[in-house]
């Protein structure tokens, strides 16, 4: 998919070409280019032209993550049924489509983030842009969810929902990277179950009723 897009625009869109070539380099050499200088030299470009689009390789990797996200959203928007989905279903559909997108680039991702390469706690810098985009996207779902009461609004905690769902993105990504099941079926299960858990936790539950009751007792003392 990336390839055809790149072909059409080689002459006009240097940015896309840079991204494409960077990916190819990673795929063929099993690592990032040594330096921007070496990289542009191999492309017969001036180093300066690179900086017109990206400040570093991190910038390219960042753009790649954002392309996956954009592509996912545009596929979703093309599915008629997507707009009729509840929040829970929207997020499920997002993850399924996103993982499909990633599958097209699994070798690239495995090279950069394969076993042990993804840090446990801190994020690689290049995920920043994707994180921002995802949070914006998911906040929209959450807002609608609160309006339809699919999601309970709780003081203090509600503001952290988007962050929690972002952690879920990382969880699913890690799961998929390590998944050896046929057709990544285990990842499908992980998505199904974790999204359901997340929405059950965010939905109104016995806990809310309990807190409400506790508050009442406290206040009417």
């Amino acid at each position: 998919m990336e390839k055809t897009a790149a072909k059409k625009t080689t002459k006009v869109d240097k940015r896309a070409k840079l991204i494409e070539q960077f990916k190819n380099h990673v795929l063929e050499n099993g690592k990032e280019p040594v330096s921007v200088f070496k990289f542009t030299q191999s492309l017969k470009m001036k180093e300066v032209d690179f900086y017109a689009f990206f400040s570093s390789f991190t910038g390219i990797k960042r753009a790649i993550w954002q392309t996956f996200f954009k592509e996912t959203i545009s596929i979703l928007n093309n599915q008629e049924v997507y707009n009729e989905y509840s929040g829970r279903e929207k997020l499920l559909a997002f993850f399924y489509t996103w993982i499909e997108e990633l599958k097209n680039n699994r070798s690239y991702l495995l090279t950069l983030y394969g076993t042990d390469k993804l840090p446990k706690s801190s994020l690689p810098k290049e995920l920043g842009g994707f994180r921002q985009d995802f949070k914006e996207y998911v906040n929209e779902i959450l807002q609608v969810g609160e309006e339809t009461e699919e999601i309970a609004s709780r003081p203090f905690i509600s503001e952290k929902y988007d962050e929690a769902l972002w952690l879920q993105v990382l969880f699913i990504f890690r799961f998929w990277i390590k998944d050896h099941s046929e057709g990544f079926e285990k990842t499908d299960e992980a998505i199904e179950k974790s999204v359901n858990l997340a929405f059950d936790l965010m939905g109104k539950s016995a806990l809310d009723t309990f807190i409400d009751f506790a508050k009442f007792l406290h206040q009417s003392k």
Partner: protein, 439 residues
Amino acid sequence: MREERKEQGQIPVGKVQRAAKFISTGAKVGGNYIKHYAKKIADPKLSREELDNDNATDIYDSLSQLKGSALKVAQMMSMDRNMLPRAYQERFSMAQYSAPPLSYPLVVKTFQKYFSKTPEVLFDQFTRSAVNAASIGQVHQAVLKDKKLAVKIQYPGVADSISSDLKLVRPFALRLLNISEKELSHYLAEVEERLIEETDYELEVKRSKEISAECAHIPNLAFPQYYEELSCERVITMDWLTGNHIKEWLLKKPSQKDRNRIGQALWDFYHHQVHELKQVHADPHPGNFIILEDGKLGIIDFGCVKVIPEDFYQGYFSLIKKELVANQEELDKIFYSLEFISDQDTEEEKRFFKSIFKEMISLIGKPFHEENFDFADNNYFDQIYELSDRVSNDKMFKKSRQARGSRHGLYVNRTYFGLYSLLNQLGAKVDTTKPDWLL
């Protein structure tokens, strides 16, 4: 919709949690026994039935939260009514209707993976939520060119989890079925093989087409048409059969004549499969049958098919010959060939098991001994329960160092018990036809 989804969120994730679920049930069952004996000290008249009832509720509650093979085992146990105390049966037969749904996005994804198209593109209409749950999948209703279709979709990862699920079920099966460790392993190997076959939807379509073509000539039966081009490893598309399940149909108080007609169709269906095709729809639970508006018996779901090996067939069915019970020598030969008794047994064991098996055979074979048989006769079923109760509480069986009975017998027995109990539910009187070589 929200309520429905909520159920699914409560399904325990992963093996550890599932194991935890089972352990908590185990603890509860143990607790029930303690409660029972504590109560019994206070009130010696307390019946075992009450205890079984408590246990059945707890075990059912825990099994109903599992999908896949555990549910399948629950179904099996509910089928093999002879093996289960009555209290368990009711609860387990409920399990057959309650599996939580798969999300629609995952359904869409499955379709895209196998057909590269969404269900909306493939069909003119497609229901967003499942209309029916099966143990390893769910059914959606679709319309294509004015034809109503049933589309069965398998849960992801079912095939992978069968072995680990069966391991989890072991301690329960041991306790519930009251059999020796060895005997259980002997049977679970057979169960595992069948379950793995059941996850192969391509095989199911192939078998469905074969068997329905072979049985097409039997009066009062109806089979859906299967659509190979709309089926794959994980999806089966077939005609939607409109009608009632047996339980619903019986609520409408059909006449004795109608009940006999359905019962006869059922009997003929099994007769033809067992004796002519030597492979049989081994899942005769009520959910797999639909009584159509025109009064025919519709048969769905050929997931579980048992192929009957020739040598087992000969031995097993020669047992239904009435005069055989008197012929000790020939009977012994068959008992050996069906692995009921072996040379490892002591003389005492041999004598004991022979007499028990003889009793079983003459009881189970009873419908075959007459021209026709009235399955509405509850006395007959009580005799079966009484015998199996006696067997399951007998020390000789628990002590037995070896598994008894050929593994092929498991599904053939299950089929016949299923058939008998369906006929009993129908209250049908049927002509019990026998194969020519037995006449």
